[in-house]
């Protein structure tokens, strides 16, 4: 009977991942490898990241042929104009510790569609595009995109005519990519802000194309977290 009146546990069973994460972080701090403040500063830096700077870079390139030329020739230099410094970025001041500072901007044409993958891991232009989506990291996407790009793009809702060439760009440790899609019809006279709104994360990876009125990625199922991190 006493069993019945036992208070419910405060938390569900903690996962081994949660335990190990706390253990590793606390040990690293206790040993002086980094400080709790370092960890906090990095978290705050993560909060500043997202696809907006890359969307703005595309919008600028659509409006200004000279800037488009610069973006295609030197993505790192062009990024400065949307507030992203790949070489001296915060909070390290020496760029990202994952050791890459080469951004390539892949220009689509009506007959050429680019799409980005990282077959070897999950390389992604984080400073200008934020964290990669889960599907981008899956072995499935990485396996199939390089071999059946049209089929995979169709699964994302992007049906390409046969006369459009598909070029899959495989990221690597040193080089990261974003797609500069074709400016869609129906956006004549739009401002940079208006244009940037339709350049979604998926457009920048290359699995979608911008459309007037479409300001979000296609809806997909969201796998909920057991103990979600609130950004």
């Amino acid at each position: 009977m006493a069993e019945k009146h036992k208070p419910a546990p405060m938390v569900e069973e903690v996962s081994e991942f949660e335990v190990l994460e706390i253990a590793v972080r606390e040990l690293a701090i206790e040993k002086g490898l980094f400080t709790a403040e370092d960890h906090q500063r990095w978290t705050e830096y993560m909060h500043t990241l997202g696809p907006l700077p890359a969307a703005r870079l595309v919008a600028k390139a659509w409006l200004d042929p000279e800037f488009k030329k610069l973006a295609v020739e030197d993505g790192v230099k062009a990024s400065l104009e949307v507030g992203i410094d790949w070489v001296n970025s915060m909070p390290t001041h020496f760029g990202t510790p994952s050791d890459y500072c080469n951004l390539r901007v892949l220009e689509d044409t009506p007959k050429l569609k680019h799409v980005v993958v990282c077959t070897l891991c999950s390389c992604y232009p984080r400073p200008i595009l934020g964290q990669s989506p889960e599907w981008y990291r899956t072995p499935n996407y990485r396996r199939r995109l390089v071999r059946w790009p049209r089929q995979v793009l169709a699964e994302f809702g992007l049906q390409l005519p046969d006369d459009v060439e598909v070029r899959v760009e495989d990221s690597n440790q040193k080089s990261r990519f974003i797609v500069l899609p074709v400016r869609p019809e129906g956006t004549e006279g739009w401002s940079e802000d208006q244009l940037a709104e339709i350049v979604t994360r998926d457009c920048l990876i290359g699995v979608a194309t911008p459309k007037p009125g479409k300001t979000a990625n296609d809806p997909r199922p969201v796998r909920p977290a057991v103990n979600p991190y609130h950004h």
Partner: protein, 143 residues
């Protein structure tokens, strides 16, 4: 991709997929003449090099991030910021050293996390005992 390259890739993948369950072959520590170059390539292939492997369509999902996943990412980045490891060794440890079973079987950040624990031990910043004591202590907080 030219058809001859395609043929080579297909053949390579065909051999690779037979390696894991090949216990019924007499291939354990074979003599050099028992391994041809194609098998050598298959055995020395990195398991994270998945581009082109056959797979079936899945539902593309977005995902909420767990607290431990976010913290693991940040810990790994900050360890690099403070010079504990560099990008090359992170990649080798997270993608290669974990082995194929863990590479494919664990969550994405699960691999990162195990690797972060191992780097601290391997570089003698902590002992295995310190790690296991800490794990026990953390677990007790939740009991």
């Amino acid at each position: 991709m030219s058809s001859s390259v395609r043929h080579k890739v297909m053949k390579h993948l065909e051999i690779v997929k037979q390696l894991q369950p090949s216990l019924h072959y007499e291939t354990h520590a074979p003599a050099p003449d028992q391994i041809d170059n194609e098998h050598y390539r298959a055995y020395t292939r990195m398991s994270h090099d998945v581009g082109g492997e056959p797979d079936v369509p899945i539902t593309w999902e977005e995902k909420e991030e767990e607290v431990w996943e976010h913290n693991t990412f940040v810990t790994c980045e900050v360890l690099a910021w403070r010079g504990v490891w560099n990008a090359e060794e992170r990649r080798r440890r997270q993608n290669v050293d974990v082995g194929q079973t863990q590479y494919l079987g664990l969550p994405y950040y699960g691999r990162w996390l195990l690797t972060a624990a191992r780097i601290l031990v391997d570089k003698q910043y902590i002992t295995v005992t310190e790690l296991s004591d800490k794990i026990d202590e953390v677990r007790k907080r939740y009991e």
